[in-house]
């Protein structure tokens, strides 16, 4: 079996389990509102190989998001956000294209493209993901300040966990 495929399947299951059983417990907020949530599962979409067809990325995003929703008891919210993140992955990758271009057989990791590039990539993707997620949660832009505050705190928390896990496991493919 293809190494990339196996890796992706393992990541799917692992990230899902980590998210719904462990990271779900971490939250912080005040006044009855949760401002910090840790969302690590978008890492799965981030680490899909470059040559994954865009439609497949979107579909996988939907499945993982839906699986997360299943235990978060929030049908559609994580799925909606991750479908969006999966869709814009191509656009973000296109914007971040290094001068020499991508190696189509590669996977976007810090090993293949460098620390700075990976940090940028993860930061932008997480920011967009969290913004979409919290917009869906509020379902209106009337409380845009609260949305932005939630995005800020959750982004810091999620990025901490994301970078930690990437530096510990050091995924290559």
């Amino acid at each position: 079996m293809d190494k990339a495929l196996t890796n992706s399947i393992i990541r799917f299951v692992l990230l899902w389990a980590l998210q719904v059983f462990l990271l779900k417990q971490i939250y912080w907020g005040w006044g009855g509102e949760v401002y910090l949530q840790v969302q690590l599962y978008p890492l799965f979409i981030l680490l899909l190989p470059f040559n994954t067809p865009r439609g497949v990325v979107v579909l996988l995003g939907f499945f993982l998001g839906f699986a997360v929703d299943w235990l978060y008891d929030s049908p559609g919210m994580n799925a909606g956000a991750l479908v969006f993140t999966a869709f814009i992955r191509d656009i973000v990758l296109r914007i971040l294209t290094p001068r020499e271009g991508y190696n189509i057989k590669d996977t976007p990791t810090k090993d293949s493209l460098g620390h700075t590039w990976f940090f940028q990539y993860a930061a932008i993707m997480m920011l967009l993901h969290l913004f979409f997620y919290f917009s869906l949660e509020a379902f209106t832009f009337v409380y845009i300040k609260s949305i932005l505050l939630k995005v800020l705190f959750s982004w810091l928390g999620s990025m901490f966990f994301l970078l930690t896990s990437v530096y510990i496991t050091n995924p290559k493919i």
């Binding site: 067809p53 865009r54 439609g55 990325v57 979107v58 579909l59 939907f62 998001g65 929703d69 929030s74 049908p75 559609g76 919210m77 799925a79 909606g80 479908v83 969006f84 999966a86 869709f87 191509d90 869906l136 949660e137 509020a138 379902f139 209106t140």
Partner: protein, 274 residues
């Protein structure tokens, strides 16, 4: 159709994304109470606004019909005005027979064409001789006199407006016995000239000028305009009065045509040698 399918195939990822996203948003609204509340109240807000707009548009579309109805009604009412009747008050011995005979009937019409923006304005009305319109009938609207019918076809009539060099109209001062001829001498289309008003007539600026009814075209007392300026003519004992017209002749849309039922009667009289 095939190009549409091609587009979908080429942009499959986007359509997949859109479909899934719509599905997710549907799920969010359907199964999450707080989002459902937001969605419901927004829906109510926007649908309410939409319904309001729709009502307004419907009303606006109905306006035309309503206008038509009102004008017909107006025409009916105008033919019942005192000046639309010919008095048959005949005193026989001491018995008074004061029945009133209908003299003028009014036809409501719409102006469907105008001559280009210049002097000598003419209009085309959407009523013709099958509706009872004949040449030399007067045309007016709620502001005042508009013109006189010159040509008639089965369903349309041409009207020479007051702003035409060939137009002559018998006009007088309201509540004063003096009268003269009103004509437009060219120039400013807001003014016309009333001539042959005697010098001793007590005219003041602001007096209303109206039709006299002597020309058998208009009933008595249809407004034309107000006295704007009194111009004495040297060597003559009459005034020329500059009349500010009520009507804006470039902006007339509806009109009433006056039909004099006693016209033939009067023509008979004119044919007899004096």
């Amino acid at each position: 159709m095939s190009s549409l399918l091609q587009t979908i195939a080429r942009r499959g990822a986007f359509f997949l994304f859109a479909t899934l996203e719509i599905g997710c948003i549907y799920l969010v609204i359907k199964y999450n109470s707080s989002q459902q509340e937001v969605a419901n109240s927004s829906w109510l807000l926007y649908s309410g606004r939409l319904m309001e707009e729709r009502e307004q548009i419907k009303e606006y579309l109905k306006l035309d019909q309503l206008n038509q109805q009102l004008r017909e009604e107006n025409a009916k009412l105008l033919s019942r005005m005192p000046n639309a009747f010919y008095t048959e008050k005949v005193v026989i011995d001491s018995v008074q027979n004061d029945s009133l005979r209908q003299r003028y009937t009014i036809i409501a019409a719409e102006i469907i064409n105008k001559s280009p923006l210049s002097g000598n304005i003419t209009y085309v009305l959407n009523r013709g001789y099958i509706h009872g319109v004949e040449p030399h009938q007067g045309v007016f609207n709620q502001e005042g006199v508009v013109g006189i019918v010159t040509q008639v076809s089965p369903r349309h009539a041409r009207v020479m407006s007051l702003m035409h060099r060939d137009m002559r109209l018998s006009a007088g001062l309201r509540a004063k016995a003096y009268f003269g001829t009103l004509r437009w001498v060219g120039g400013d289309t807001r003014y016309a000239t009333l001539s042959a008003i005697p010098e001793y007539a007590p005219v003041a600026t602001g007096d209303t000028v109206e039709t006299t009814g002597y020309s058998n075209i208009f009933p008595t007392g249809i407004a034309i305009g107000t006295v704007h300026e009194i111009q004495p003519i040297s060597g003559e004992n009459t005034y020329n009065i500059k009349v500010k017209l009520f009507n804006d002749f470039f902006n007339v849309n509806h009109a009433y045509i006056v039909r004099d039922l006693l016209k033939e009667d009067l023509e008979q009289l004119d044919k007899q040698p004096q």
